[in-house]
């Protein structure tokens, strides 16, 4: 088993939480992993990415080679496309469709979405709306993780444990909200892939 995953988004959108939960679930499943993150200046509203590599054998490089990623998980559509060179031939885009516009020259959103939809395997959907319907806009990242969970080859329960582990100190309510978001994302992917 080997999964190379690129996580993408804009600084502050919560991709590191996704990475931490998958990382926790992988370790709990007895897998080996490396997860490279971006800290520092880019976190101030710039593009951020994390390379997450999970395997049952040794993982060497902390960075995923070009053309090798199995999944690009993104909380922002243009940020998903930025890492297209990393995606393998049969890789999947799992991405939010809602743009995060903090630059004056953000491209026409229709072009961004169609560029994603032109790729072989993709799930592009409005995760903000699903999170909002559940009463918590901030758990959009967990909706995305839920959709991606279908492709991770990691037991779903282990991801739930990961959520309990990282949100536990914030209280039961927050844990529940995030678990619901995870489930809603999973359901969407099951119905649309």
């Amino acid at each position: 088993m080997k999964k190379d995953i690129i996580l993408a988004g804009v600084g502050g959108q919560g991709i590191l939480s996704i990475a931490t939960i998958i990382g926790y679930a992988a370790i709990e499943s007895g897998l080996k992993l490396k997860q490279a993150e971006v800290h520092g200046m880019s976190q101030r509203g710039g593009d951020v990415q994390s390379h997450l590599r999970i395997s049952d054998s040794n993982v060497f490089s902390d960075l995923i080679p070009h053309g090798a990623a199995d999944i690009i998980i993104s909380v922002e559509p243009m940020e998903a496309l930025r890492y297209k060179p990393y995606l393998s031939e049969n890789g999947w885009f799992i991405t939010n469709s809602v743009p995060f516009v903090n630059i004056p020259n953000y491209p026409a959103i229709e072009n961004v979405i169609s560029d994603i939809q032109n790729c072989k395997n993709n799930i592009v959907f409005d995760a903000n709306q699903i999170a909002k319907d559940l009463g918590s806009s901030r758990s959009m990242n967990m909706v995305i993780l839920g959709a991606a969970s279908l492709f991770l080859d990691i037991a779903y329960e282990k991801l739930e444990e990961g959520i309990k582990f990282i949100f536990g100190r914030k209280g039961e309510k927050i844990v529940e909200t995030n678990l619901n978001a995870l489930a809603a994302g999973r359901k969407f992917a099951e119905e649309n892939s």
Partner: protein
């Protein structure tokens, strides 16, 4: 024991803690910050009351660490690569004084300058100082090396460098811990003159350091971190330093059968280097950062074995390595991959919504509207982003503290107005001495100390000057009437512009302190 999922930085911290650490010192700087932060929140470190507060800068941190070593205890000091420039005086001299309790100087380099103003390679400093260095290839090695470095440090009474680069510092992997060692008891150095660098003592110490070098090379030759893997295909051997080893292993297959020398401990292991050079027709050197090893092997006038690497263009001279560049250097076919679609545009970092620096820059821009651009010297921090549109508010960023001192020099040259903008933490790090110069020379400058009550860029660390900036300025000798505190908010814009104009008009040193919490700190405190 269950493995911990740790960043390379955190593995360094855990390794030091488990080896009986008594104190961590440092100044925050990407990608090194998480070493001290980990120790600050580690329950065992808190229970043992390990020293773990930030220092004013890297030099004060390294000197404090030397003091702890003098008293016999094990200590680690952390910084980013450019921080070692600030601490270079104490680092170079620590090679002569040596250590009593074990000392680790952990330096994280940032090749490709993800969050830095240059990409210098700290291994040059360890070679310059004639001190040993470790360079881990993964998180477990970072832990193990750090744990063992204290023993090496105390064996030779020398500080040891731990050299990390961004991709290891900020990448997580499982790390297994060793049995925790007790802290050292307090003890004086065996010789009273150990830390006394009067010239007559220094000459003897320098000779001793030189005489120790062959022993350090022997340590490297016997080190498990310098491993030689034999191979039958001698057409091209590979020397892979630190993290580069991973990119090599990522790309080779079972069919490959060439000799590999993995380097993790410096000075270079002479025996193994001689072997690979003698055996192979060519040697490819893979190293993260600058071509240190390559240059040493090549010499000034190349003879014998052909050396490939960054100097002959096999690998780009600048920037970090990655699986793709190493694959190309090995002569392997490229993995097919697609281009970035043309709809994708750049998304550079920017000042956050609600950032107090925005209001300060809006006020400064009103002033420079009259005199034109080119009058604002700035510094290192989030506020460096004020150079970019839509602000275009500042003109320089060189090194920590250079805003004030460059403003002095420009004013000396006749520039008026000459304005410096510097953050509170940077002011504490290297701005105070510059302000002292300004007061002493009666320089006609305006120093804007943008006080957001934290070291924001690196993630909200305490700053030493918080709560005492006015007193520092007063104590240095700035006229009380020309220390002005303003609140950078849009509603105060007109009033703030007026204050800025008054201080520009004053012929002498003015200090303006725009004070409002970093927006992230504000949200956290609310």
């Amino acid at each position: 024991m269950k493995k911990l999922l740790l960043l390379g930085d955190e593995a360094i911290a855990q390794g030091a803690l488990d080896a009986g650490l008594s104190g961590a010192y440092g100044y925050p700087g990407t990608p090194s910050t998480e070493i001290v932060e980990y120790i600050q929140r580690n329950p065992e470190a808190i229970e043992k009351n390990i020293h773990r507060t930030w220092s004013a800068n890297e030099k004060t941190a390294l000197e404090a660490a030397l003091g702890m070593s003098y008293a016999g205890k094990r200590t680690i000091v952390t910084m980013k690569h450019v921080g070692l420039n600030v601490a270079a005086d104490s680092y170079m001299n620590s090679a002569l004084t040596g250590a009593n309790g074990g000392v680790i100087v952990a330096v994280a380099d940032d090749p490709s300058m993800h969050s830095s103003q240059n990409e210098q390679d700290s291994r040059f400093y360890s070679k310059f100082a004639l001190l040993p260095a470790f360079e881990p290839s993964d998180q477990q090695e970072a832990y193990n090396m750090c744990f063992e470095a204290f023993t090496l440090s105390e064996k030779y009474n020398l500080p040891i460098m731990m050299r990390l680069t961004t991709r290891l510092a900020h990448s997580r992997a499982g790390v297994a811990r060793k049995k925790v060692l007790a802290e050292n008891e307090m003890s004086f150095p065996q010789n009273r003159d150990q830390f006394m660098l009067l010239p007559s003592f220094s000459r003897k110490k320098y000779q001793k350091l030189l005489d120790t070098q062959p022993e350090l090379v022997k340590e490297s030759e016997n080190s498990k971190y310098n491993e030689y893997f034999d191979g039958n295909d001698k057409s091209c051997g590979v020397i892979a330093c630190g993290l580069a080893y991973n990119y090599l292993m990522e790309n080779i297959s079972d069919k490959d059968d060439f000799p590999i020398l993995k380097i993790g401990q410096y000075p270079l292991p002479r025996k193994q280097i001689e072997k690979i050079m003698a055996e192979c027709d060519e040697v490819l050197v893979l190293e993260e950062g600058m071509p240190l090893v390559e240059e040493m092997l090549k010499g000034y006038i190349p003879t014998g074995t052909k050396i490939k690497g960054r100097l002959d263009g096999t690998i780009s001279r600048a920037g970090e390595l990655n699986p793709k560049t190493v694959r190309k250097a090995l002569g392997l076919p490229e993995i097919p991959s697609e281009e970035i679609p043309t709809s994708v545009v750049g998304r550079p970092p920017a000042l956050c919504d609600g950032c107090p620096h925005i209001d300060t820059y809006n006020a400064i821009n009103e002033i420079t509207k009259k005199c034109g651009k080119g009058h604002v010297f700035s510094d290192i921090g989030c506020y460096t982003l004020g150079y970019l549109p839509p602000y275009n508010a500042i003109d320089t960023c060189v090194d920590m503290g250079a805003s004030i001192t460059m403003a002095i020099g420009a004013a000396d040259a006749g520039l008026f107005p000459s304005i410096a903008t510097i953050g509170d933490s940077t002011f504490g790090h290297s701005g105070i001495t510059g302000l002292l110069d300004a007061v002493d020379k009666k320089a006609n400058i305006v120093v804007v100390i943008m006080d957001n009550d934290t070291t924001a860029m690196t993630g909200m660390q305490d700053s030493q000057v918080n709560g005492r900036i006015e007193k520092i300025c007063l104590g240095i000798g700035v006229d009380e009437k020309h220390i002005r505190v303003v609140t950078p908010l849009a509603k105060n814009h007109a009033e703030n512009v007026k204050i800025f104009q008054e201080e520009v008009d004053y012929n002498g040193v003015s200090v303006i302190i725009p004070r409002r919490d970093c927006i992230h700190l504000f949200k956290k405190r609310r």
